[in-house]
């Protein structure tokens, strides 16, 4: 493959050219209610050529990899149409490397029937849990992605990117009241990570039933404590996206708003993105521009300390590339993305955090989140009211919203332990979704959070 890619690259007349080819095998199985809903597998082969001419990008994506020279020519033609200024692209030492992903239990060697029987057991646990369980949705999915990357500077990287996960969802119903309990486990790992999840299956069923009798949280402003999984979503939505410098690098006003050294939070706030933490879903040795991933401080002691870059945004802002140019697959160009983003641990215990909260919400696990850069929202799977320093009743429909320039300032306590729960799902941006990211962190206490919901 290397020879073919390098031969095609040598035909390019662009200032920079790269080829990424991917071969993906995947399989899936899914139960909905008592029946298997679907089961199957797929094989995908495809590639992308990206070329830079006078600051303009041209690209070509394809499934037929037999004519790479023609694709290179197409990408160069498009780039010439676009380019009108000087190209700026951060220099990095071209890497030649081969990364393999040895799997403890290789899911490619496990039969569809075994994959099916593992989730069938989880499904039975849900359906047999209680007579208020109406239905279930239990899905298994795996993919093994082999990536070949070569660029005109001489870099050549072969990378293996496995991903396996299950989603376990229970639906409870009482009259018109329909509630859901959801658990997921995923990892860049072998089949073993999705085995032995009987307790998670039971937990999802229990939650679906319990939420049927839980009231919706009353809308208003509260002191909120987020658990590690939700803290990860908070770091990601409330701030992470704003640190992606493709929103900043050609935007003078945004540059002023996000100038390094600006205070965004209190002294105890540290936010980090690190694509090099072993074993997490957002982890890779190199990003999709051949740049080594690393630990990047975004906020240090409450001060804006850094941001996430591609080679282009780094060059245009006069900063170092950070290894954050990622693409979800060969049909997409790499754009600036997060990897594993988290709030660093602080010094408090959970007891310290809760004891003086008169009225608050302990918000747990996530359903999702979204941001428009300044404003953001994210949803907890469920929560408990905190009353007079103690955990009180279970509540549902816990949706939190805020404004980055206010909410980060309102973080006043951070717990002393970081957890990285191996959850599924991923991040969406620019039509590329879902991209695996790591979501975790400590427990975080935030004052004055608007919690949506109906007013009583």
């Amino acid at each position: 493959m290397r020879e073919r890619m390098e031969k095609a690259l040598s035909s390019s007349d662009a200032e920079y050219t790269e080829i990424r080819i991917e071969h993906v095998t995947s399989s899936w199985a899914n139960f909905r209610g008592e029946d298997l809903d679907n089961i199957g597998s797929s094989r995908t082969l495809g590639g992308i050529v990206r070329a830079l001419v006078k600051g303009g990008w041209g690209y070509a994506t394809f499934n037929d990899i037999s004519d790479l020279e023609i694709r290179v020519r197409e990408a160069c033609e498009s780039a010439r149409l676009v380019g009108k200024e000087e190209s700026r692209f951060a220099e990095v030492e071209p890497v030649v490397d081969e990364i393999t992903a040895p799997l403890e239990k290789d899911f490619r060697e496990i039969s569809l029937s075994e994959k099916k029987s593992v989730i069938e057991e989880y499904n039975k646990i849900i359906l047999g849990y209680h007579d208020k369980i109406e239905t279930s949705n239990v899905g298994y999915g795996d993919s093994f992605r082999k990536v070949w990357y070569a660029n005109s500077e001489g870099a050549y990287i072969e990378d293996e990117r496995p991903d396996v996960g299950v989603g376990i969802s229970a639906t409870g119903r009482q009259g018109d009241n329909v509630q859901r309990g959801f658990e997921s486990v995923a990892g860049s790992a072998g089949f073993q990570v999705i085995e032995g999840l009987q307790e998670k299956a039971e937990a999802s069923a229990r939650r679906a039933v319990d939420l049927l009798s839980a009231p919706p949280v009353t809308g208003g402003k509260y002191t909120v404590i987020t658990n590690p999984r939700l803290s990860g979503v908070f770091a990601h939505e409330a701030f992470g996206h704003l640190s992606e410098s493709d929103f900043v690098y050609e935007n003078e006003r945004m540059k002023k708003l996000m100038v390094l050294g600006k205070r965004l939070g209190s002294d105890i706030l540290n936010i980090i993105d690190d694509g090099s933490i072993r074993g997490l879903r957002g982890t890779h040795k190199y990003d999709d521009e051949g740049v080594k991933t690393r630990k990047n401080y975004l906020i240090k002691d409450g001060i804006l300390a850094g941001r996430l870059h591609s080679r282009e945004t780094a060059a245009k802002m006069g900063e170092q590339p950070t290894g954050n140019a990622r693409a979800i697959g060969y049909q997409h160009r790499p754009i600036v993305r997060m990897t594993n983003t988290y709030i660093d641990k602080g010094g408090a215990t959970f007891e310290d955090m809760i004891k003086d909260v008169k009225l608050g919400v302990y918000a747990i696990d996530m359903v999702g989140g979204q941001t428009s850069m300044e404003m953001f929202t994210f949803s907890a799977a469920y929560g408990y009211m905190i009353r007079d320093g103690k955990i009180a009743e279970l509540v549902r429909d816990v949706v939190l919203t805020g404004n980055v320039f206010e909410t980060l300032m309102h973080i006043d306590m951070v717990s002393d332990t970081i957890e990285w729960p191996p959850v599924g799902g991923g991040c969406g941006k620019g039509g590329q979704s879902p991209l695996p990211v790591g979501l975790g962190g400590p427990c975080v206490r935030i004052q004055n959070v608007v919690v949506g919901g109906r007013q009583q």
Partner: protein
């Protein structure tokens, strides 16, 4: 055709088979932050096989057109452990006529797309030069072949074309994002009108208007109507109905909305994104009323779900989701709807839709782009505001429906809708 060869191969071991082959080429041009940024061409090809062996279903997919043996073998392997089939593949049937191909899309060049982007940008810049503009245009041409072992086969060719423009306006720490876009299967799009619509949305947001928490009337623009529709998309899905997770299960014939409210699934609108002669299982498309004068009429089914539920496929395969949704016009002009609102919220776009428990009808969303109405006038944009309610309750409290349906994206045709009261949580 290749698909017939695959059917033949599959039928050596299977009792039923279906094969789809799709090929497409699309071209896109995009401007980011006031500058032409990228252009490119995407070619794709894919083959899907579904088989029934001993009454069980297996499926598989590949992008490798030479992998004919492999893709069939993997579908057969999956069928050994597959779910029981509750249907038979449909025989030859002629679908209704609907326009999904426009010759005028094919010759559009990248240069023309660049010009469209430049013109849209110039319009927004002429309104306010400090607004940072991103725009884009794209087209695609796709071909597909479909065949099954019952003798149903068809080929189709479809085009699509779309443009979009958005502006980012930063004042202090206030970041305003507003834009507009439209795409369908036809070349004919007035891109200047799209840009003018984006400018109108920006103009109405020039001032920021504080809003107090409380229950108040809420007007959803055609785009904003999506907030109410998510629950219906899930609730009318035949699979959710069959499994009992839809709150509408068992409610056909019952009044579930105000009598002014009617909505249909319509795959026969010329050039709409969800249109076509057949669904993905070779079943001819037809119009399906979902709610008529407030009464629930039909759920949407694909072949297998229909078989399980004892219903007939409505041509919504695979997956039982809607094609294009059309909401019936009412009799209130939009201007009057606003004028009759003493204090309320106009909602265009939200953040966080679908988080939480959407199938129950509950929504609790951040108003990403919405406006305060005071004494019958839009006075400015609202910020840091949550809107919460339940679709099924809201549809019973419709205060007015606009008299003119508009496209909100290429697969929803709806007028603006005013709900008498919803919960708004501000600062």
């Amino acid at each position: 055709m290749i698909v017939n060869r695959l059917i033949e191969k599959a039928m050596r071991k299977a009792q039923g088979a279906q094969v789809t082959l799709g090929q497409s080429e699309s071209t896109n041009v995009s401007f980011e932050d006031d500058k032409l940024k990228s252009a490119g061409v995407a070619q794709s090809i894919g083959m899907s096989v579904k088989v029934i062996v001993d009454g069980k279903i297996g499926s598989s997919h590949t992008t490798d057109i030479d992998d004919v043996d492999g893709v069939v073998a993997r579908a057969l392997e999956a069928a050994a452990f597959g779910s029981p089939a509750h249907f038979e593949f449909p025989g030859p049937q002629e679908g209704p006529d609907v326009e999904i191909y426009d010759d005028a899309v094919v010759p559009v060049t990248k240069e023309e797309m660049v010009r469209i982007g430049e013109e849209m940008m110039a319009l927004v810049k002429a309104y306010r030069s400090e607004i940072l503009v991103s725009t884009g245009a794209g087209k695609s041409v796709s071909k597909s072949q479909f065949a099954n072992s019952a003798g149903m086969e068809h080929t189709s060719e479809t085009t699509s074309f779309g443009v979009g423009v958005s502006g980012q306006w930063i004042r202090g720490t206030d970041i305003l994002l507003a834009g507009h876009g439209f795409g369908w299967k036809k070349r004919e799009i007035d891109h200047a009108a799209i840009a003018r619509k984006a400018i109108e949305l920006l103009k109405m947001a020039e001032k920021i208007a504080p809003i107090k928490s409380g229950d108040m009337p809420v007007i959803f623009t055609p785009e904003g109507v999506n907030v109410l529709l998510l629950a219906l998309r899930l609730g009318f899905n035949g699979k959710n109905v069959f499994l009992g997770s839809s709150p509408l299960a068992g409610k056909l014939g019952e009044k579930i909305a105000d009598e002014t409210f009617s909505i249909t699934d319509n795959p026969l609108l010329d050039y709409a994104n969800g249109s076509g002669k057949y669904d993905g299982e070779g079943v001819p498309h037809h119009v399906t009323p979902l709610i008529e004068d407030g009464v629930a009429r039909n759920f949407l089914y694909d072949l297998d779900t229909a078989g399980r539920a004892g219903a007939k496929s409505t041509g919504n395969g695979v997956g039982c989701g809607p094609t294009n949704l059309v909401i019936k016009e009412g009799d209130t002009p939009y201007e009057e709807m606003v004028k009759n609102t003493k204090e309320g919220l106009l909602v265009h776009n939200v953040l966080g839709l679908g988080q939480g428990n959407p199938i129950s009808g509950e929504f609790s969303v951040n108003v990403q782009l919405g406006y305060k109405i005071e004494n019958g006038e839009v006075v400015g944009r609202v910020k840091d505001v949550m809107l919460a309610g339940n679709t099924y309750d809201a549809l019973k409290e419709i205060a007015a429906i606009g008299d003119k349906a508009e496209w909100a994206g290429g697969s929803l045709l709806t007028p603006a809708i005013k709900i008498a009261r919803l919960s708004v949580v501000g600062k």
